[in-house]
Structures are given as C-alpha cells and as structure tokens.
C-alpha cells in the first residue's frame, strides 16, 4: 500500500457537540481535481449500478453508492470474476457532519486491490426519533452479520433485513448510540456524585 498522503478534498466542518470542546477547524486543503471513477467504479457503471466517485482514501479507490443499490453492487463485486473483491474486511459506521455513513472495506483473497464503498444517508432525510436505514447484506455475506450489529449498536444505523439486529457490545437495554457525536451519557459511571451512578 502506498503511503502517500492525499488530503480529503471536502474539508469536513466538524459538528460541535454540546458537551465536547470545540474541535479546531481543519487547515484549508489545496483545491484537488474532481475525483474520477476508478476501475471498480467503471465496472459497476457497466453493470448499471450508479456510483459517485469520492476522494481517494489514502490511495484507495472510494465510491459512494445509493442505499438501494448496495446489495446488488456487493454481490457483483464479490462474485464477478473480474472484480473478485471477496473479502469484506469491515463494516464501519461514521457519524459525519452532514451524513451518517456506512463504510465497507473490500479486499480480495487473490489480488491486492482494495475498494472502499460508502453509503451515506443525509441527516436531513432522517426523521426525528428514527435511525438512518441501510439495507443489510448479512444474509448474503456472513462477515457483515456481527459487524452490522456492532454498527447498529454503537453508531445507530438500522440495517433493513438483518435477521437479528440486536445490540452486541452494549447491554440490551442501553439507551442511545455511543459513537454518535450528539450522544450524551445518561449515567455517568465514573461520577460518584451522580445519584444514578453505578458505584
């Protein structure tokens, strides 16, 4: 993997969570050329799956896919002989400033190519008291089973079609999703003064 640094072209305005100190603004990046589709982006386009190129994540091709087309895209990438991206490394959730992302890192067992797929749900589209919804691929790709459960647990993305979407790391009755930027811990376990503390 090359170690060259490609700064993100979209400088992300960090949200200012109420309880958190203000994160300093990122230094203004140099204007980068608009990203173009890489190998896998083109492959998907040929298959008729819409994808938007994004800035390379440290030299790795990154594309954005609409939620509805995610299962088809992953199925194609895993099974087609020219793509062969048959190793789902991880499913992560990111609470970005404007969107909530479900990020899929795809590797291959036979070649060194990598691909990052992002499914971004704009926060504006999420109704209040609802979780962002992304189709689940757990029934097709078993790796995603626990990874999706974990992302649901910590970041709060509802994977539609997951057969057992239940908290995995936190207790089943935990409230909230801790890795959201606006998450406030109701019970401060470390504070002795708090009457609701565990201590």
């Amino acid at each position: 993997m090359s170690e060259e640094n490609k700064p993100a072209d979209k400088p992300e305005e960090k949200p200012v969570p109420a309880a958190k100190p203000v994160a300093p603004a990122a230094p203004a990046p140099e204007p980068a050329p608009p990203p173009s589709l890489g190998t896998y982006g083109k492959m998907l386009k040929e298959k008729g799956i819409e994808c938007t190129p994004m800035a390379l994540s440290t030299g790795v091709e990154t594309i954005e896919i609409a939620p509805a087309q995610l299962p088809a895209a992953l199925k194609f990438l895993r099974e087609s002989p020219q793509a062969q991206l048959d190793f789902l490394v991880t499913v992560s959730g990111v609470d970005s400033p404007d969107t909530i992302d479900s990020v899929y890192h795809l590797w291959s067992y036979t070649k060194t190519d990598e691909l990052v797929i992002k499914v971004r749900v704009p926060k504006a589209n999420i109704p209040a008291d609802k979780l962002p919804e992304v189709p689940s691929i757990a029934s097709y790709w078993q790796t995603a089973d626990w990874h999706e459960r974990e992302t649901y647990d910590l970041v709060g993305i509802r994977y539609i079609g997951h057969r057992y979407l239940r908290r995995i790391l936190n207790p089943w009755d935990w409230e909230g999703h801790p890795l959201r930027r606006d998450y406030k811990q109701l019970v401060d376990a470390l504070n002795d003064k708090n009457p609701e503390s565990f201590r």
Partner: protein
C-alpha cells in the same frame, strides 16, 4: 408375542445451558448460550460485551498522544500489534516517514510478541484439552523470557506503549540484542521438545483430528483471518500479500495447511509460525541499521493531518486493522478497530453445531480468541 423391530420413539427435552461468563475455559468473559440435546450442541449464541470498554469512544475523546497509551489494552497479549496498527494508520494519513531502524525494531518486537502470544495460546489450549497441570507451564517459561525483553525496552510486561506514531519509543542497548540472539538459538529446541510431547500424542490427536473442520468457503464468508484461515488452506498473510514495513526484505515462509482445516491443523499452523518468527528475528538482528528511531515529536500536541485511511497489520490472530478519520485536530474524528478475534469468533456457532460439549473447548480454544480484542 411379537418381536419389536423398531425401537419406540425416545424423545428428550433440550437443555439450555450458560457457558460463561464465569467459566474456567472461556478465556475471559465470553458467554455462550448453548442448547444441548444430551451432550450434543444444537444451537449456540455467543453473548459479547462483558469486557466492552468503549475503546472506540475513548479514541474519539482522547488526544492522539493519550490514546496511544491505551490501545495496548485492546489486545493485551499482542500489544505491539495494536500500537502498530494505530501508528501505521496515522502515519499513512499523515504521510510520516518512519526511520529505517525504527521499522526494524518494530518488526523485531512484533515477531517476539507473536511468539509470546502463540506461547500463551499453546499453554491455555492444552489446559482447554484437560492437560491441566503438566505441559501448559513449559511455554510460559519461554514466554517469561520474552516478557522480560519487553520489560527491558519498554518498562512494561504487557502494556508496552512502545511503538508510537512516527517510530518507536526507546533504542535498546547492544546487550539486549545479544540476549535476543541467545533466545533465538535456544527457542527452536524448546519447540522441538513440546512437539515431541504434544503433536503425536494419541489422546491429543483424538481430541483434535477431524474436529471443528473449517472449510475454505465458510472461513472466507465469515472473514476469518490469521493462522485460523491459513490452516484452512488459504495462503493469506498480510506480511507477504500486502507487505508493509520492512517485510519485503525478509525471507520467511507462511505455513499453509491444505488438508482439513481442523483444530490440529490450526495447532500446527501456529507452531510453524513460531518457527518462522524466529527466522525473521534472526534476519532482523543481522540487518538492523544504525540511525534515528523517531520522526515525530511525542508530546501532547501530537497532531495528524486531515484525511481518512485504513491500515492493517498481521497480528497473531489475524488482520488487525484501524480505520481512522482525522480532521487535523489533536483528536481523531472517528476511530474504528477491525479486530481479528471479532470476526474469528463469529464462525464459532456453525463450527459447534452437532458437536459434544467436550469439543466446544477444543474448537473454541483452537480459534485463539482473546476477549478484550472481541469486546474492545
């Protein structure tokens, strides 16, 4: 009188049993809800999170400099690798050039740590199989030596905090390398001894051969990595497949077993991996250059440029990855661990199907799970 040709239908109820979280052989606090028919497992549901320490949350709420000291806890048996994964991810995003001597020191410590982790696995696996008091202590004697090496260079026996973003923390003295060299000469003999006791032991073979067969397809579908994957016959080692650090310059084999993918193969894969690690250490001791060991200032103002990236290292358990989104501040914006134990453990329920209780530990132990790595 009629002769009964068919036995009457004899139906028994299934029994639900809790294995753990407090159980001698769950390597920490895993809880398995087992549905048993007699002694045969019908269904398994792992319940995780008893050791959840919110490592990702802590990563987002602590500065880079603070969090470096915490990450050894993610996988306490191979702290060098967790540090390395974080450092690599940060360096990839930041574009930091790591000094060559530091890279060699990283490889040296990581391979020693791989050996110590496998040694602990070997001892505890034999305990899982019921050899409670005899053999299991022998690997620990050798592990003790490795922990002493680490204590001498980092001041700690388990939570090293040695590999830092931009290099390594301390430069060991020449005597330290001498000691390591002596260890590399002695160690293969010890491995031979253990193999003489364990590998062909008939009871051990009975307990491990043909048990917990993990096929290639299942292993790939569940994202299993590390020696567990290679014992299923897939040649996938990050050190050779996507070489990082100075691994391209080193010669070593990746033991792959293309036979059954059973627990015995996994045992052999780890034993052979220890031998290969010793080979790597010998080469590193010959090749290590003089020079700087740190290229980034280690203080509270440690910052990483904005950007995002994923970097992984081949830990003793598999691919330990780190997905970081940085916004250029002193704290990571999003911190995501990709832990090998988490994915490796998810393959446990299908492996346990229709196996007797005694095999649970033989199979579970052979996956080499470590619970803090699963729960974070």
């Amino acid at each position: 009188m009629t002769i009964q040709t068919k036995l009457p239908e004899f139906k028994t109820d299934e029994m639900v049993i809790n294995l753990g979280p407090q159980h001698p052989a769950t390597h920490g606090v895993l809880r398995l809800i087992l549905t048993l028919d007699g002694e045969v497992v019908k269904h398994t549901e792992p319940v995780l999170g008893h050791l959840h320490r919110a490592q990702e949350w802590q990563g987002q709420n602590r500065t880079w400099f603070q969090y470096q000291a915490l990450i050894d806890r993610v996988d306490y048996l191979s702290g060098m690798f967790t540090s390395w994964a974080l450092s690599r991810a940060a360096e990839v995003i930041d574009g930091t050039e790591v000094p060559r001597r530091a890279e060699f020191l990283r490889v040296l410590c990581a391979e020693l740590n791989r050996i110590s982790s496998h040694l602990l696995w070997l001892g505890t696996y034999l305990i899982d199989l019921g050899a409670l008091y005899g053999f299991p202590f022998y690997p620990f004697i050798e592990r003790e030596k490795i922990l002493t090496f680490f204590e001498e260079i980092s001041g700690q026996r388990m939570m090293y905090n040695y590999i830092r973003i931009g290099g390594v923390q301390r430069d060991p003295k020449a005597e330290w390398f001498k000691k390591v060299e002596e260890f590399t000469k002695d160690f293969p003999k010890r491995v031979d001894e253990w193999e003489a006791i364990v590998t062909e032991n008939p009871i051990f073979l009975n307990r491990t051969k043909g048990i917990g067969v993990l096929t290639k397809e299942v292993a790939q579908a569940y994202g299993v990595t590390g020696p567990t994957l290679r014992a299923s016959g897939i040649d996938f080692d990050l050190r050779r497949f996507k070489p990082y650090s100075v691994y391209p310059e080193l010669k070593f084999d990746v033991p792959v077993y293309n036979k059954d993918g059973d627990t015995w193969d996994r045992y052999m894969a780890r034993i052979q991996e220890m031998r290969q690690s010793i080979e790597i250490i010998k080469q590193v001791l010959d090749m290590i250059p003089e020079g700087e060991i740190m290229s980034k200032k280690q203080n509270a103002g440690l910052r990483i440029k904005a950007g995002e990236g994923f970097a992984a290292v081949e830990s003793p358990r598999g691919i330990l990855g780190c997905y970081i989104t940085s916004n250029g501040s002193d704290k990571p914006y999003r911190f995501r661990w990709r832990n090998p134990s988490f994915s490796n453990l998810s393959v446990l329920p299908p492996l346990l199907e229709e196996r007797p209780i005694s095999d649970i530990m033989a199979i579970f132990g052979s996956l080499d799970i470590i619970l803090p790595d699963v729960d974070r």
